[in-house]
């Protein structure tokens, strides 16, 4: 009896082991990539990383895009078939925000990362070929939302052109025979790519924007028809044979400027307790009619050379120059509060989302400099920082640039006169009244007044 029980127990244990082993094996089986597509992508990746990515070849100095830091999004790679050959396509991610536009679609900027793909395909001898394909839509593509027309740039990882940029139109489909390697016509063309643009160095208050220009001319001797299964524009569906194209202008522009991130803009200021560390706030006022309380001026007769309908209405401006002096180490930042879009002195059009701008190029005719404590200074910075917040609106009557300055100081114990002017469509604080109040006020020992505008650049950088 006992022996029978042991035998049954052994059989049950064996069965359980088999079940466990089955699921264990099944689980293990699931973790092994059996997907042939994944295998193709992995093979392409191995080829690229071992032969191309690891090469120490410098980028083409004339190709600005090639010098940008970029990486391959293998996690988003896909497979497709071109000319009967399996082809792996992976997005190329450029560091930061890089935008391009061309004269094919004036005024529209495209995210370069969204336009560029790495394309890898084996040839008939199973040898991989690769290229970076950049598609720039033209105006027809954008207007019709069909994206069948535009220009294709085909380059290697270093930015050297692999084949001439091509204009194409899908309606003229000319899919080539993959076995056709006969060159019918050879033509020589020269293509010049002119690239103009600018980069931002967000933390460089003196030269945060760098303009640059590059012109690259290449001469191509090309067949009039595609020559076979090689990847690239020549074998992509819908591409015409090579033909001369107009010169291409590409602009690269980042979408932000330094002060769009106010925390970064202010980050060089340090909250120190040393008596040698001093802080000052300069309130700069650009009065519409200097020396008067006039809240706005209208250039009668219009701006010189214009019709009367264009009479410019000047409401002036008030802004801050903020300075920290740490034993001679000066940090200065200019900042002013504006509407993000144009506003008008008409009911219903006086308000817009607020935005902080760098005002180091703004003129003023009177200013008041106030020495403040570290606590006050950083409290003022915090108040100013609200100006970029979504929903923090600029209003010509109730929350304009002058109101912003008065409130930012007032909430931190620095009280300025708050005279309100009136105009046809409203009333509120205004540069004319604040400027004249500053001109007439009794100055405290921590204040100085200046009635001459001088250069007030941002000063100082930090890591």
């Amino acid at each position: 009896m006992k022996r029978t029980w042991i035998l049954r127990l052994c059989l049950a244990a064996n069965a359980l082991f088999i079940v466990v082993l089955f699921f264990a094996c099944k689980k293990q089986h699931e973790t092994v990539p059996a997907n042939p597509l994944a295998s193709q992508i992995q093979s392409a990746r191995d080829f690229f990383e071992s032969t191309i990515h690891s090469a120490a070849t410098p980028p083409n100095a004339a190709n600005y895009r090639a010098k940008l830091q970029k990486s391959i999004r293998w996690d988003l790679a896909q497979t497709t078939t071109l000319s009967g050959k399996p082809t792996i396509v992976a997005p190329v991610q450029f560091a930061g925000h890089v935008y391009v536009s061309s004269d094919l679609e004036p005024g529209t900027a495209f995210d370069l990362s969204s336009l560029t793909r790495l394309v890898i395909s084996p040839d008939s001898e199973n040898v991989f070929h690769y290229g970076l394909l950049t598609y720039i839509p033209d105006s027809t593509a954008i207007q019709t939302q069909t994206f069948n027309t535009g220009i294709l740039l085909y380059e290697d990882w270093q930015g050297n052109t692999l084949s001439a940029p091509q204009r194409f139109a899908r309606r003229h489909i000319a899919i080539t025979n993959s076995d056709n390697k006969q060159i019918d016509i050879v033509q020589t063309i020269q293509v010049c790519n002119e690239i103009d643009g600018y980069n931002y160095a967000p933390d460089d208050p003196e030269g945060g924007i760098n303009t640059w220009s590059e012109t690259s001319c290449n001469t191509y001797t090309l067949p009039a028809m595609s020559t076979g299964p090689r990847i690239g524009p020549g074998s992509l569906p819908g591409i015409l044979g090579p033909k001369p194209i107009p010169s291409l202008t590409i602009a690269i522009a980042p979408p932000t400027n330094p002060i769009s991130n106010i925390t970064n803009y202010f980050k060089c200021f340090t909250n120190g307790s040393s008596p040698a560390q001093t802080y000052s706030v300069q309130v700069c006022v650009d009065e519409p009619d200097p020396g008067t309380r006039q809240p706005w001026t209208l250039t009668s007769g219009g701006a010189a050379g214009t019709s009367a309908a264009a009479n410019p209405l000047n409401v002036g401006h008030t802004f801050f120059v903020l300075t920290e002096n740490d034993q001679g180490n000066i940090i200065t930042r200019n900042v002013g509060f504006y509407p993000a879009t144009s506003i008008f002195p008409i009911a219903g059009y006086t308000s817009a989302q607020g935005v902080l701008n760098d005002d180091d190029g703004h003129q003023y005719n009177i200013s008041l400099t106030i020495n403040v404590s570290a606590t006050q200074f950083f409290g003022i910075l915090s108040s100013i920082s609200l100006g970029n917040n979504p929903g923090f609106n600029y209003d010509l009557n109730t929350d304009n640039c002058t109101t912003f300055v008065i409130n930012s100081l007032g909430s931190n114990g620095v009280v300025l006169p708050s005279t309100k002017g009136t105009w046809a469509t409203g009333s509120g604080n205004d540069p004319g009244d604040l400027g004249e109040d500053i001109g007439q006020m009794q100055l405290g020992p921590n204040m100085t007044r200046n009635t001459v505008s001088s250069a007030h650049p941002n000063v100082g950088t930090c890591n």
Partner: protein, 137 residues
């Protein structure tokens, strides 16, 4: 591949410019060391000619202005600071262009129209002009 290309470009929006000026035809852009609004608005084109302006890169300006549309306004926008610039049109005539220090709009004194840039170009445009102006000081 075209499916891919379509996918790549689907997020893009159409925004063709409708302007009375072919900005790509303009040249010899300059910015002047003058941003007193009253003086900028009243200075005549003839008075601009003898001024020494700093050249702006024509191509860079073209890139920004390709998106410019005429701003149909009931009255003048509120100006809060401006830059004085000039350029020549395709006929070589000098045009006075007054650029706002906010909002991405400007006044072409030659045709009397206000123009507005695309919102996504306003920040870079203002930064570009500000830095160009500072170099004139």
């Amino acid at each position: 591949m075209f499916v891919l290309i379509v996918y790549l470009a689907l997020h893009l929006t159409s925004d063709t410019a409708g302007t009375s000026v072919k900005w790509d035809d303009t040249k010899n852009w300059k910015i002047y060391a003058l941003n007193n609004s009253a003086k900028v608005f009243t200075i005549s084109v003839d008075s601009i000619k003898p001024l020494n302006g700093d050249p702006l890169n024509d191509d860079s300006v073209h890139i920004f202005l390709r998106s410019a549309k005429i701003l149909h306004v009931p009255t003048s926008p509120a100006w809060m600071g401006c830059y004085l610039t000039s350029c020549e049109n395709r006929n070589g005539q000098l045009m006075k262009i007054v650029i706002s220090q906010y909002g991405g709009f400007f006044l072409n004194a030659y045709d009397g129209y206000y123009y507005q840039l695309d919102a996504n170009l306003t920040r870079p445009w203002l930064d570009y002009m500000r830095r160009a102006y500072i170099k004139t000081e």
